[in-house]
Symmetry: C2
């Protein structure tokens, strides 16, 4: 059982076979649930007993070499430290685990925060012979992602998606995302129900599908109420600082149409932020400006990240099904790994509004 090469080794199916006086291919079959039925039940029990007795462990490296399937997929995300991603990853792993798969993880927002890190990660993953990729780093216009797809890799996007471009060699990849239009509608409807009519938006980076979709969703939701935005400012990133800066900019902006009130009140009574971090930054800036939330300004975030309920005021937010998103994406990939190519479905999950203390009736 000790070998010349390799490091710490255990028994192999050949050891079990010798132990039982049968051939190793018989043992191999006995170990495979899909072909176990070909084995006599008496022998089957003996194989199982012997395997247990000798302490056999399958060697996936050998199986992977033989079958080309490593039972491993690559997961690309910007940074696991961003609180959006842990539940997504957890969902991914729950799905993979159920099928005996593992995830190889890469934080691509490493040093340079760009394509180079993702490229290197993918190469290493391909060396490990991952069977596919779950990508949470997609940009709307992502040349790198396109080339990965053209190389034949199986890909499912999570959380963010890419743009479809007809005519070019660009396909919309299968993705699991949240219904951002619905999310914004829930937010806006809630505010309108509280008699707000002057509602502003702090938008996410326009290069991400979430930033774009939420912005468009916001505008459409307002239109449904025959309202116009009381201001929209893009944020450079999904971060507290960016939200703070954007709010400062929003407060400085000249109100369009109706004049700003004499007491210096802003042109809006409510703000919908593209995510919670932006909302936190906005909250900071509002408080610094002496504006009270929710008495003077109502504020809504997006994602419902942990601890929002502990803030003061507790932040109203659009809750996304992060865990489910990861879970479904992984399942989609696993199915794609069995089935025929094609079947590029996109799953859209329903968000819900979690009303807390940062929203209140519009001041009059």
């Amino acid at each position: 059982m000790a070998r010349s090469k390799g490091v710490s080794v255990g028994p192999t199916i050949d050891d079990i076979a010798r132990h039982l006086g049968v051939h190793k291919s018989t043992v191999s079959r006995a170990m495979d649930p899909a072909r176990r039925h070909l084995i006599g039940s008496a022998l089957l029990h003996k194989v199982e007993a012997a395997s247990r007795e000798l302490g056999w462990r399958p060697n996936r490296a050998a199986a992977a070499l033989s079958t080309g399937r490593s039972r491993t997929v690559g997961v690309l995300l910007p940074d696991i430290t961003n609180p959006v991603f842990p539940p997504i990853l957890r969902g991914i792993e729950d799905a993979l685990d159920a099928e005996g798969y593992f995830a190889l993880l890469a934080n691509t927002a490493r040093h340079d925060g760009g394509v180079a890190a993702a490229q290197m990660a993918v190469e290493r993953m391909q060396a490990q012979r991952v069977e596919g990729f779950l990508v949470a780093t997609a940009l709307r216009d992502d040349a790198w992602l396109d080339s990965l797809r053209r190389s034949g890799a199986r890909i499912v996007l999570v959380n963010r998606t890419n743009d479809r471009v007809d005519g070019e060699d660009r396909a919309q990849l299968p993705a699991v995302i949240s219904d951002d239009a619905l999310g914004m509608r829930l937010a806006v409807d809630h505010l309108v129900g509280l008699s707000h009519t002057r509602i502003a938006h702090l938008a996410g980076p326009p290069g991400y599908s979430t930033g774009q979709a939420r912005r468009v969703g916001f505008e459409q939701a307002l239109q449904a109420h025959r309202l116009k935005p009381a201001g929209i400012v893009d944020c450079a990133a999904y971060a507290i600082d960016a939200g703070d800066a954007a709010m400062v900019q929003l407060l400085a902006a000249k109100p369009r149409g109706r004049a700003r009130a004499v007491d210096g009140a802003p042109a809006f009574t409510a703000v919908v932020a593209a995510n919670d971090l932006i909302a936190l930054g906005a909250l900071q800036a509002l408080q610094r400006a002496g504006l009270r939330v929710p008495q003077q300004i109502s504020l809504i975030g997006h994602n419902d990240m942990p601890l929002l309920a502990q803030l003061s005021p507790p932040l109203t937010s659009v809750r996304i099904q992060h865990h489910e998103m990861g879970y479904r994406a992984a399942r989609l990939l696993l199915e794609a790994l069995r089935d025929v190519p094609g079947t590029a479905s996109t799953v859209v999950l329903r968000p819900e509004l979690v009303v807390r203390g940062s929203t209140a009736a519009a001041p009059r």
Copy 2:
């Protein structure tokens, strides 16, 4: 280049060898940094060019089968969704990545929250031929961990450690942890500097090394000031609810020694919590009881998790070097994988106190 078995394949070193009219073992050597020098530089360049041209990717599954080294380690943690772990994992991956390793992750607090999940995860990881384990789930008395060690697995603990028991077959495993005694000393010294003399502790679960060490550290830190605890309550878990319940219990407790003041003020003016979630629960309970933080009660957490600065009051906390902890643990494991066995070092990292708004001078 297309093969009969396997799935999507690329060129192999044999393809390169044929392309160049050399033997594949020559190509293999050329690809190995450690043996490259044996190759003529002219040939070396040609091999590199051909490899690039044909788009060769190493097949780690094959290498793993041959060498017994998968370039993969297993990481066991309770739940990546717990905000303590993302930075630890990030540190781990940064270290592994630098050496070309990947982590296989398992959330062991899955359904039953216990040994069974960890056991299954370890088996699957061993099937994948991980070279070692990074374990963030250690209990002080962990029979399962002992058996894993006895099976010959390379293990490094992170964040929590196990108890040494002389005489029995139990060794203290190499670990990277935070200096909890120092952390508590920083907290207590800060409070004493603010004239607090009646300081209570909400302790972590006594089955975890962190719960135990912080509790002992708290008592020692008080002793150094010739003070006695104004109450200690164990929490059932590191969770908001548990902290809330423990604080309720603490408030209900009869003050020992000096009588409780007539106005119903508690027997303490400051509380050190074993972690931030417990502190948040405590804050909740205090506010419900009509006690103001920090005016009446000062409160300190532990871990300095994200968003503490956004709370009101912003929570003072003992900051742990989570990223560094993961990074060092992974490096320790990688070194153990090369070197001789033994060398069971333990690394203790320095925490620091982050003073925010939840601590103030003791009321008089």
